[in-house]
């Protein structure tokens, strides 16, 4: 398993487009947060922490699309045959992919939020905004990991980079966009969607009550991670059943 995990990391490290994609994904969140903070987009009630999280959706989309295209790309490029013959145990192969993607997303997400917090803190006028609770940004890292795992799973299931990237975009953006159509389910669906989980963790006051997950930010985070786990299991089963 450890060897297969190393190989998965090396796959990313040995293709420029793939590691560059991860770096761009890592920069997306702080870049958007910087833009919002530098152009006066933050309200007086915002903290440095909530300001740092304003680029979260960009970060989620960037990491999710990256994970999806990397995973599905193995099928599109026909390189999956080598993966299946060099690591023929599907459970090991999937676990290695999951662990590698999770590590890259976690480390990348952590660097993203720390960078975002520092740049927002640096550009905001001194003494106007409270710092907030920087630890709340852990929810951003967890959401990035969850969306990356989702991207990996749908990439393996769909085999199509375009289709899996589209699914990630829909999964990140649709819950909030279509929340009003969900009636009583809105709190559960929108409340546990990655973007809303982050908003609840770093600045719940900005959310309308009908989008707040019952049980609060912690319960919403756990639910989001559970949903990502269920999708990951779907990806694993697909690999087991379809690919031999």
């Amino acid at each position: 398993m450890r060897a297969a995990w190393r190989a998965e990391l090396l796959k990313v490290a040995t293709v420029r487009g793939q590691w560059l994609g991860a770096v761009i994904a890592m920069l997306a969140l702080p870049a958007v947060s910087l833009l919002v903070a530098a152009t006066g987009g933050l309200g007086t009630g915002d903290t440095v922490t909530s300001g740092a999280a304003t680029g979260s959706v960009a970060g989620l989309l960037a990491f999710g699309i990256w994970a999806a295209t990397v995973a599905a790309g193995e099928y599109a490029q026909q390189t999956m045959v080598v993966s299946l013959t060099t690591v023929p145990r599907r459970s090991v192969l999937f676990s290695a992919k999951l662990a590698a993607m999770g590590c890259i997303a976690a480390v990348g997400g952590l660097v993203s939020v720390v960078t975002a917090w520092l740049v927002v803190w640096a550009v905001l006028p001194t003494g106007v905004h409270h710092s907030g609770d920087p630890l709340a940004l852990v929810s951003v890292v967890l959401a990035i990991v969850a969306v990356s795992v989702l991207g990996l799973a749908v990439g393996l299931m769909s085999k199509s980079p375009a289709a899996s990237a589209s699914i990630v975009v829909v999964a990140v953006l649709l819950p909030k966009a279509a929340g009003g159509l969900l009636g009583g389910l809105q709190r559960w669906v929108v409340g546990a969607s990655p973007g809303t989980v982050i908003t609840q963790a770093v600045g719940g006051a900005q959310l309308p009550h009908n989008q707040m997950f019952p049980g609060g930010a912690a319960a919403a985070t756990v639910t989001m991670l559970l949903v990502a786990t269920v999708v990951a299991v779907g990806g694993a089963l697909t690999l087991l059943r379809r690919d031999g």
Binding site: T14, V15, Q78, V82, S83, T86
Partner: protein, 240 residues
Amino acid sequence: MAEGERRTAAIVVEDATKVIDGVTVLDGVSFAALPGRVTAFVGPNGAGKTTTLRAILGIDHLTSGRAIIGGRPFREHRRPVQVAGALLTPDAAHPRRTARGHLTVVAASNDLPRSAVDAALHLVGIADIADLPAGQMSLGMRQRLALGTALIGDPAVLILDEPHNGLDAGAIRWLRVILRELADGGRTVLVSTHLMTEIEAFCDDVVVIDQGRVVMAGPLGHFVGGESMEQRYLDMVEGG
């Protein structure tokens, strides 16, 4: 698998049947490829050769029957690249990944030392273009890289699907020599090819498959019986 066993693993396919969407692609395929011998796996396009090879490697499920390497399904071996090396497509490397990068990934996946990468690059004669992305290589060079992928673990079994595609005359002769040497060293070599002259030149056994069924399996000498390989093969699969 012990070192001695690792170098003498046989491929056994028993009553392999595969049905896809109601169409029988493999129909009770049975044969064995033995250590120390090069077994040619021949048949018309669509006969089921690649499906059989993929089933042996556990890439495709069989509807019934079994395909094993060294006494067990391929995926149950702990160090797969030391048990079987496979060449199923010349495009197995990511087009943006260098040959060295590709082999480094394969070596890492099975805990092979870095020296295995250099050894494989030299063995297949692409050490001087090791840092070229696979997408910029000719078909013949990509075929060599795919062969390097198969050989990197010094496996007991080699499974090659049309390895001659894209190779020039010199490379075909080189491949013939290297496969013969590997078989003489105790390896099991199963090679699917349409080149009848190559089969006559270096293969020991022949398995002929047509419409998902094995129509002949045995030593090359018994198969040709004094005729040309090409004529015997065409008589068998086309009736003419």
